[in-house]
Symmetry: C2
Subunit: 342 residues, 2 copies
Amino acid sequence: MAGIDEVARMAGVSTATVSRALSGNGHVSAVTRQRVHEAAQHLGYVVSSSASGLATGRTRNVGVVIPFLNRWFYGAVLEGAEHALLAHGYDLTLYNLGGGGDERRAVFEHFLLRKRVDAVLAIALELTDAEVRRLHALGKPIVGIGGTIRGVRTLSIDDHELARVATSHLIELGHRRIGHIGGDADSEMDFHVPSKRRVGYEHALNAAGIRPDPQLFEAADFSIPGGYRAAKRLLGDHRPTAIFASSDEMAIGAMLAARDLGLSVPRDVSVIGVDDHELAEFFGLSTVAQFPALQGRLAVDMLMGMLGDAAEHDEAAHIPLPYELTLRTSTARPSDQGATSA
Amino acid sequence: MAGIDEVARMAGVSTATVSRALSGNGHVSAVTRQRVHEAAQHLGYVVSSSASGLATGRTRNVGVVIPFLNRWFYGAVLEGAEHALLAHGYDLTLYNLGGGGDERRAVFEHFLLRKRVDAVLAIALELTDAEVRRLHALGKPIVGIGGTIRGVRTLSIDDHELARVATSHLIELGHRRIGHIGGDADSEMDFHVPSKRRVGYEHALNAAGIRPDPQLFEAADFSIPGGYRAAKRLLGDHRPTAIFASSDEMAIGAMLAARDLGLSVPRDVSVIGVDDHELAEFFGLSTVAQFPALQGRLAVDMLMGMLGDAAEHDEAAHIPLPYELTLRTSTARPSDQGATSA
DNA sequence: CTGAAAGCGCTAACAT
DNA sequence: ATGTTAGCGCTTTCAG
């Protein structure tokens, strides 16, 4: 593989000039730059990231820590982030922390410290103070997605408001017995998203003069099968006329459960979810859309900004993420029968 | 951040000894090693990958190129690979080539060449000769998953045989009118998986004295909605008593379509897929399981072996991957009526 | 605008 | 078993 000196020789300049011409730092005359680029092109020269990294302390690589790869939401965020990074000329080094505590410790105490990355992007992971401190001690900017983290710039959705919007939609349609499928203890981890959404649901109910009924709540694991089982219980026992599920996958499970119980959606029961999952359209699911790919991109943009200037990056900040009520065919006014059984 | 010389000073040895003690290369007495480890621990020292990479030419990082992140199969392979790499102390740098030709060129002509990775793992991507040559010129081992690549060690499933097994299962149950939902032109790319599976399906039919009927074939995009639409056409027009779908997602779509048409699975129509998708169990879907996480792990093991010895890595080789007929409740003997309408 | 030269932090001969 | 030392390939002062 060609090195910088071969390029320098071929272009008839010094290695310093080659470096300047290729990196864009420092002034180089147009003709020289041109010659250097041609030589580099000709030789297939690409800088060695190790050498460049050692000399500059920057690697053009960001570490992404994420708890799952195989849930739609996470995959979509990752995709958005990876695409944006590539566009900025950055590599993405992936740390999937699904494996539990040991893996997480190894990543934060070893992998992220070996100066392979310039910055870290934490997706749906509530970093501990110790983790943040370690990274900041190395001068590495951090951006988090999905909730607030002390001392870190974060992007997140207003889960409370989003749940309120979804529930209010159901209320406005005339529903009074509105069930909720929220998250279980496992999904409560990190940013307590399930709780926030449940509170938003209850607030909407209260604001409409409806007393939240604990019997109308079921916990699940954010999956289709989980939503299915939860809805079976809910619809079997207490027959709400509408269900707000904290994720589209659970909402889809609920639609399947309704059908298996001989109920028609939305005639017998309305269902609304959260995400705008890739299958939402197929199932005609009304939902509150989040835009995960956009989230990934915004986070990367923020990171790039932080890498640019030498300002203080330890200061926290928080940016709200957009969401949007997206109506399809799974929600409608309640049919007359049973609309007022409470 | 502490450097190697601080550790050396603290342990009262030279930097060379620290390097040896920490890397495990070269002999160091037990007590010295102990002291060095303690000092490193105490100072929170972790080697700089840039410096180490520059000195050794190895980075402990592998590049993974993959066409999608958000399909179950790919996510699962990636998860398996990432987990295995972490266990080996390697980082995983991700290149998602979903964006089309430009991104792919950028990755192969620039990103992968900057010596950030020691090896590359190509998932479901048929590398071109030029791409392989470039990587080999850099001395980077390559392993491919999903099909054979000239000059590269690959792991792949016998798609032909797998389709034969699935179809034979249907035949053995007594089905004669067996439809097939295969891949469309897009999914044909790279390793022609859809064609191979279709041929396997036809071979099974022929072997049983059944003439394959082109009317019983529909193409789709490997998704649930795609499978749904394909099955609607198939079941509406030609009423096969069983369907073999080339992926579980399409098979699930077919089950949903059957239900919407008022057909019961498996009473009116049997359905079998390929993958053992995470939802297969929920839907009671019979399938031919592949084990994507295992595939990722095996590929990493192979890569680690190649990185170990200095042998020739240009020589191709091919390892077959396991699959397994997994029966659930979506396949059964055809009901008497209509079993012999052909 | 360009060149010379001093490192960046570590590893691997080569000595001892 | 351990220390000395010469780079690894680039970037970046510092001169000119």
